[in-house]
């Protein structure tokens, strides 16, 4: 049997951690301010400022607690917003490329050594 992913689940069935899938980390020192119905976000490593919508900002807020993968972020946001995980998954998957390009998020390589 080939193991591709390993899930750590709480006694209540909540997904706590997944190994073998891409995790994302928020760049340190980001400044974010609400500007109208968007967010102005300054990235200290690139010196660039971006305007983000609420969904992208929500992802950054979840990542403030530490690196996470899409499923974990969806779980956290679904709990808070009442949106379905499926809806959130689509929204969040669409965010990654841009957030990475803006330097606000970086991909963490899946720790394959944890796999069996």
């Amino acid at each position: 049997m080939e193991v591709r992913e390993l899930h750590l689940v709480s006694p209540h069935g909540r997904l706590l951690r997944r190994w073998g899938v891409t995790q994302y980390a928020r760049t340190e020192g980001i400044l974010a301010e609400p500007i109208g119905d968007l967010w102005a976000v300054f990235c200290p490593t690139s010196g660039e400022t971006s305007l983000l919508n609420n969904e992208s900002m929500a992802v950054l807020e979840v990542l403030e607690a530490g690196p996470a993968d899409t499923a974990a972020i969806c779980g956290a946001l679904a709990e808070d917003s009442g949106e379905s995980i499926e809806t959130l998954e689509g929204l969040i998957e669409a965010c990654w490329a841009q957030l990475i390009e803006m330097g606000l998020v970086r991909e963490l390589r899946a720790p394959r050594t944890m796999l069996g």
């Binding site: 400044l31 500007i35 109208g36 119905d37 968007l38 102005a40 300054f42 010196g47 400022t49 305007l51």
Partner: protein, 320 residues
Amino acid sequence: MSSAPRSHQTLGDTDTLAFAKVLADAGFGIDVGAVSVHVRSDSKLFARQLQSVYAHFPLMDRAQWADVHLTINRASGFRRLIRPQVILQCDGRQPFEPFPANAPLPLFEWGCNWMIGQRLNDLLLLHAGAVERDGLALLLPAMPGSGKSTLTAALSLRGWRLLSDEFGAFNPDSGTFRALLKPVALKNQSIEVIRTFAPNAVFGPEFPNTRKGTVAHLAAEPDAVERRHESARPGAVVLPKWQAGSPTRWEPLTENVLFGALAFNAFNYSVLGATGFRSVVRLVRQCPGWQLVYSDLDDALATIDAAWPQVRERQLAAGQ
């Protein structure tokens, strides 16, 4: 950073030949408010052109500190005889191609603005016209073809104090705007528009066939020169847009648009990093903003004047 001027003799009071000698020997310092510029030149024509648009500026002591040092000299060799040119140098570098020998003033103005944009990183330099009334700055951020300089010039000739035609120079420490008082550079049909609008306005010579077409410089009013060390608190932002034949339209701006107009249109926003970001956020929070579409200059000014009491009340209330 420049301090208050020491000399009361103005450039306009000085004999042109004597000034040309000063310019060629020790050079001349111009204190434009937030910076002072030292310039040397062997061009007598340049001396005359400087006098035409900096007439009210004091003739500064040569020992005084200058933030920017420039030389504008005539090209030597056969060049001086065939298609003579002037060359601008700053810190031993030549950042621009030479200009025709009869156009040292536009070369000086562009060179000066370029150097200020490169050097003055203790201020956030927004690309905007800036004028003052009631101690409050009105910013006119530049968009291509916006008519920023035309509107800035017109306001400066109708009781608003000119701070700058090119830079909204915001001091993040004090939260105020400083003057970078240089002549307003008007281009092409704007020159005639302002000549008609204010027949007594003082212009330097017209320079046809520059990279930007015909250019002429409008001298700052004496009061603006006298008060160039007075800063102004943020007041409001107006995004001007000149549109032929359009009725005047005055529409509030969303914060998103305002943020973009300031941050993404600044000379040194990214150089200042987090300080630039915080400064723009602060300005967006503090200043109401409007889009002004216009074709009639008098009507545009009347619209701004009509909105101004509301700005003043808001900023007074915020300051208390």
